[in-house]
């Protein structure tokens, strides 16, 4: 383990995992991010190393002076070890490309590219990536359905950061971004939905189509380019030009989400009332495997934990809370697992330790019949 630089406290209070937010039975978390660039520098992909270092220095001092959260940790990622970078990515505070130093880097990039991230602690609601695809990517993440709350905090943080910098902006194209798909507001609203019942009933395609009709994207657990894992799907806007932030938020919040949430709840209710035997068998088997397996891969654990979470929110599972089930989905990820165990592990060792962790954490979990 590399121990250089600041470190995220092990007892994570990552807010979006705590559970219990509005519509938290279906909506795991809400996230908003904006993309911003500074005038006077090329975009990241055309920056020389010295430009990137300068952008990093300017942004670091501005972000640390802006009073964004009671406490801010700033990670200079080129000096941060692989392990800590993976922890940040697993907590969704940085993208996986930013962890590797490859975001927005047409020349291939690498771990030594000058880049960083600021994290508001202890809640980890706010994070600011520096030199990802754009100079600044500011994000706020909350538990449950809370797009408005997240946007308000982000809007304020954006103003505070901008107070000491000059953003690239034009009246015609709005905030100028490296990729034209983000230009305009530069905003992306996204919600992470847990849709096990729709998946079990083969209805996910309908959600994809409905979202596609509204020009919304459906992505996996870790966002862009990732596959659905443990029945989690992220829905987000794609249009950023020609609509204001509130119009974009409104479309997501009112035109698609209520339908998907109700659809998932109806399918869950149908499973509980009409197929209770088969549902409790599926959930009970998931708990059985989690409580007794000796070797476990990360994808398998996510799929089984998805069933546990479904059981918890439908009242079929006792002995584990929604927040605990959410948290296990983080702890099962490779870097978090090694953090918990306290040493670096090979893939085979991780399978052993993951199974041990699950057996211990879910020793009291039971599914009713």
């Amino acid at each position: 383990m590399d121990g250089r630089g600041p470190s995220l406290a092990y007892e994570s209070k990552t807010e979006w995992l705590r559970g219990g937010g509005e519509s938290g039975d279906v909506v795991m978390s809400s996230r908003v991010r904006v993309a911003r660039n500074l005038v006077g520098f090329p975009f990241v992909s055309r920056c020389k190393r010295t430009d990137k270092q300068q952008v990093l220095d300017v942004c670091r001092s501005r972000v640390l002076a802006a009073g964004l959260a009671p406490s801010i940790l700033f990670f200079d990622l080129q000096g941060t070890g692989k392990f800590e970078r993976s922890l940040l990515a697993e907590r969704q505070l940085i993208s996986r490309q930013h962890a590797k130093g490859k975001a927005g880097c047409v020349c291939g990039g690498g771990p030594d590219e000058p880049r960083g991230v600021a994290v508001g602690v202890p809640t980890e609601r706010l994070s600011v990536m520096v030199n990802e695809e754009d100079h600044l990517r500011i994000q706020v993440m909350c538990a449950g359905l809370a797009l408005r709350e997240a946007w308000e905090q982000l809007d304020e943080a954006d103003d505070r950061i901008e107070g000491g910098l000059t953003y690239a902006f034009s009246p015609r194209f709005g905030y100028l971004t490296a990729c034209p798909t983000n230009v305009g507001t530069g905003v992306r609203f996204s919600v992470m939905l847990h849709l096990p019942a729709l998946r079990m009933r083969g209805q996910i395609d309908k959600v994809r189509r409905a979202a596609g009709d509204l020009s919304l994207a459906v992505r996996g657990f870790f966002g862009e380019g990732s596959e659905a894992l443990g029945d989690f799907y992220q829905i987000s806007n794609q249009t950023t030009l020609g609509k204001s932030e509130s119009m974009i938020m409104h479309e997501l919040e009112h035109e698609i989400l209520p339908g998907v949430i109700e659809y998932e709840r109806a399918e869950r209710a149908a499973l509980v009332s009409k197929r209770r035997g088969s549902l409790t068998d599926t959930i009970g088997r998931a708990i059985g495997v989690l409580r007794h397996a000796k070797l476990m891969a990360v994808d398998e654990s996510m799929q089984l934990l998805s069933m546990v979470r479904l059981g918890v929110v439908t009242g079929l599972v006792r002995g584990v809370s929604e927040g605990e089930a959410n948290h296990l989905m983080l702890l099962t990820q490779p870097a978090h697992l090694q953090h918990t165990v306290g040493r670096e592990l090979t893939q085979d060792q991780r399978r052993v330790e993951r199974a041990t962790l699950m057996r211990q954490a879910l020793a009291g979990a039971e599914c009713s019949s």
């Binding site: 809007d155 103003d159 009246p171 596609g212 020009s215 609509k243 035109e255």
Partner: protein
Amino acid sequence: MLCECGEREATIHEVVIRNGKRYEKHLCEQCAAKHGIKIQPSVPSGELLAKFMLSKAVGAPGATCPGCGLTWAEFKKHELLGCPRCYQAFESRLSPLLERTHGGVARHVGKAPKGALERARHGGEVSVEELVGSAEEQAERLGALRQQLEEAVNAEQFERAAQLRDEIRRLSTAEL
């Protein structure tokens, strides 16, 4: 339409024309997987469209951004612009691409940097007009929103109409 298995809705429809004969298959996701049809993870339609538009976008060879030296050909290759000035340098080529990917409107509506506006109002280097656009541009922006409002009302999308009304009010009072 039901899948061949008779249990689930068919969501994958395959049409093959072999030797002039048409063969159709209507399958659910599960049966499609059994038939070896790999379902692509959803690629957002906007992304697809952007890629398509990029592949079709024409650019005179040698067109270069004076700010960073990026050529249009390089942009097409990496799909990333090089600097803020690229938007001006490639405006005529970018506009149709932006209109397609952002639902027909290639004009910003929404937040403007508050600090910069504040500095402009107090005689900073950049004028207010450079941030919010000329009177003509502002009128054009309002006109586009009014047209969207009319469309929303005609389609009885009242919540959307209310949103647009709010936006028009905000822009008319120049509360950017």
